[in-house]
């Protein structure tokens, strides 16, 4: 079950974390990182992407793409959460666990 979590630091900055597979990270890790203001990661991901593009042949590129797609998609959100909690960010809001019948508005 996907769950949104919102973290805050002492300076009042917010960071959103979603659980589960991230399609955006799978398709483009730099874009995913930019959305979360992880600029260093965005640059590194882009550099790695360029290196893969230049350094590998066609078949190896395809394998690398599949591995990146699955790996980044599956682990990006978990790594972000780990990074936030390790960096002293505190949970300020979260999505409640789903109930059988949420009241309609």
């Amino acid at each position: 079950m996907r769950r949104l979590r919102l973290y805050v630091d002492d300076r009042g900055r917010l960071a959103m974390n979603d659980s589960g597979f991230s399609w955006l990270a799978a398709i483009s890790l730099p874009l995913w990182a930019l959305q979360r203001r992880l600029y260093v990661l965005a640059v590194v991901a882009l550099a790695v992407g360029a290196a893969v593009n230049l350094g590998l042949g066609g078949g190896a590129q395809a394998i690398a793409f599949v591995l990146q797609f699955v790996g980044f998609g599956a682990f990006a959100n978990r790594l972000q959460r780990w990074h936030l909690e390790r960096g002293g960010w505190r949970l300020t809001a979260e999505e409640p666990a789903p109930t059988a019948s949420a009241p309609p508005r």
Binding site: G12, L14, L34, L54, G55, E95, P96, P104, R105
Partner: protein
């Protein structure tokens, strides 16, 4: 590792002005097509994100630094508009009429300027300079502009912008074909041009798409220009690499290297547009019309004989910008001076979160009309999100920061007031304030909004007692003795017995509630609300 020396050694042929103009036009139209294609997806994702954020529960209060940051950019002068003031119905009606007349006058003047410009530049574009042909050119341009013009007029006209605009566009295409000296040979071009303009119409003027299309378009144009213009400029060197067979795909490498700077530039352009909007330079209604006119002008110049025969001068390349500038200047001059800030009655819209377009249409009509009188407040929800999403909200969504817009907990009355935009923009329209709340904040926030507002429209179409959120609001209105400010809209599905029971439980007299049947129409509803707001 491949040798990229070919990029350094290749021959660079300077592109002609015609080539550069063609690239830019192509990229702009491509960006519009891309924005139009993804906007329905963005709309759906935006709605889903709003719905998920609304369900969040706060578990830890925000630090003071967060409150200071979100209040820093708020409208400091807003509380002045909450000062006690008195208005009569006649005065409010006169105010609305004045704003509508001013907008109508300015829009028609801008329309005339747009059409006259087309006739005036016929010679520069290599078109016939005969007076009759110039008039015909002006008429075609005027027909093209019907949609954007209608969209900027008061609601009784703007709701027909798409249908009447499409008819006018077809008429313009027919007239353009008839007066084209190339005759039947250019029918394909005319059809292509009409198709491009039709896409512009639908995406930029569609009520529930334009809020998403514009920001995506602005970002995409900025990004694509930074990304692809260097590739096109270095085409000669890239071809040298192709010929040498050195680098597998130097174009892809260039795109990868430029991707992040290009995205940064795209979002900076959007930030610049937002900056202008925050200072009241345009309203969320007029901007799509101007963008549609701008893209139309670009398409017009591109299809002109001077460009088709590759005789593009600097004047011709600058014409679309000049054309739009003249139109905007005419609009600004016709609008005249900004009206002085005055206290304005505020409308609160409470409703069942329904997904029926008929319900949305009536609420949209009433909020568009009320904007000529005063600001409109509402709790942001997924139902009206697509209609009311503005550039700022969509930009926040695209950058993954939409949660910044949500109140996490009960804000003080002063904090809430400072977050609401209560001043009219330069065109005289007041804002629609969507107040987004987490689940832990909306009850207190809606109560405060009830006390701040002079009139409350309570949309109970489709209401039954199991709609807990709306039931809570009805009880709140009863408890706070605010029924005198309320006009409740009902339809055949409204369970009025449940409403009466809720008011009875709240200790209020249900007879005080002004009921309104949706079949009475929007004009009658507007009059009722004016009467309620008048003191």
């Amino acid at each position: 590792m491949r040798d990229l020396a070919c990029l350094r050694d290749g021959v660079v042929a300077a592109p002609s002005l015609g080539d550069a103009f063609g690239w830019i036009v192509g990229l702009v139209l491509l960006a519009l097509a891309a924005a139009a294609s993804v906007s329905p997806i963005v709309r759906g994702r935006y709605r889903a994100r709003v719905a998920r954020l609304m369900a969040l529960e706060q578990v830890l209060p925000r630090p003071a630094a967060w409150w200071q940051r979100i209040l820093r950019g708020a409208d400091r002068a807003a509380p002045a508009a909450f000062a006690t003031a008195a208005w009569g119905v006649a005065e409010l009606r006169a105010r609305a009429a004045l704003v509508e007349r001013r907008l109508t006058r300015a829009t028609l003047v801008a329309w005339a300027a747009f059409a006259i410009f087309a006739a005036a530049v016929a010679g520069v574009l290599g078109q016939s300079q005969a007076v009759v042909m110039r008039l015909a050119d002006g008429a075609v341009a005027a027909l093209f502009a019907v949609g954007p013009v209608l969209a900027n007029l008061p609601p009784r006209w703007s709701r027909h912008a798409l249908s009447l605009g499409a008819l006018a566009l077809a008429a313009g295409a027919a007239l353009g074909t008839a007066i084209d000296p190339a005759g039947l040979d250019s029918i394909g071009d005319i059809v292509l041009g009409a198709a491009v303009l039709a896409v512009i119409y639908v995406t930029l003027l569609h009520r529930s798409l334009r809020g998403q299309v514009l920001p995506v378009f602005v970002v995409t144009v900025g990004t694509m220009l930074v990304l692809f213009v260097p590739v096109l400029l270095f085409e000669g060197r890239l071809r040298a690499c192709d010929a040498a067979g050195e680098a597998a795909d130097p174009r892809a490498l260039l795109v990868v290297v430029l991707l992040l700077p290009a995205l940064w530039v795209g979002f900076r352009v959007l930030a610049g547009v937002l900056w202008l909007g925050e200072r009241g330079w345009y309203s969320d209604v007029s901007l799509p019309s101007f963008v549609a006119l701008g893209v139309g002008a670009l398409a017009w110049v591109t299809g002109a004989p001077a460009v088709e025969t590759n005789q593009v001068s600097a004047t011709v390349a600058a014409l679309p910008v000049l054309w739009l500038a003249v139109t905007a200047l005419a609009y600004a001059i016709a609008l005249g001076r900004r009206p002085p800030d005055a206290s304005a009655p505020q409308l609160l819209m409470l409703r069942v979160f329904a997904q029926r377009s008929r319900q949305h249409a009536m609420l949209d009509s009433i909020q568009q009309r009320w904007r000529c009188v005063g600001p409109v407040h509402q709790i942001g929800g997924p139902d009206l999100a697509a209609l009311n999403v503005d550039l700022d909200e969509c930009a926040l969504y695209l950058t993954g920061r939409l949660h910044e817009r949500f109140l996490p907990e009960a804000a003080s009355a002063t904090q809430l007031q400072s977050l609401l935009r209560t001043r009219a923009d330069r065109e005289g329209r007041f804002a629609i304030n969507e107040v987004f709340c987490f689940n832990t904040a909306w009850r207190h926030t809606v109560e405060q909004l009830m006390h701040l507002s002079d009139a409350v429209v309570l949309d109970l179409r489709g209401f039954t007692g199991h709609r807990r959120g709306t039931a809570y609001e009805i009880g709140l209105l009863g408890h706070a003795a605010l029924l005198a400010r309320v006009v409740a809209i009902g339809d055949v599905y409204t369970n009025w017995r449940d409403v009466e029971a809720l008011l009875h439980d709240a200790g209020a007299d249900a007879a005080q509630l002004v009921r309104f049947d949706e079949r009475e129409g929007i004009d009658a509803l507007f009059d009722r609300l004016l009467a309620v707001a008048a003191r």
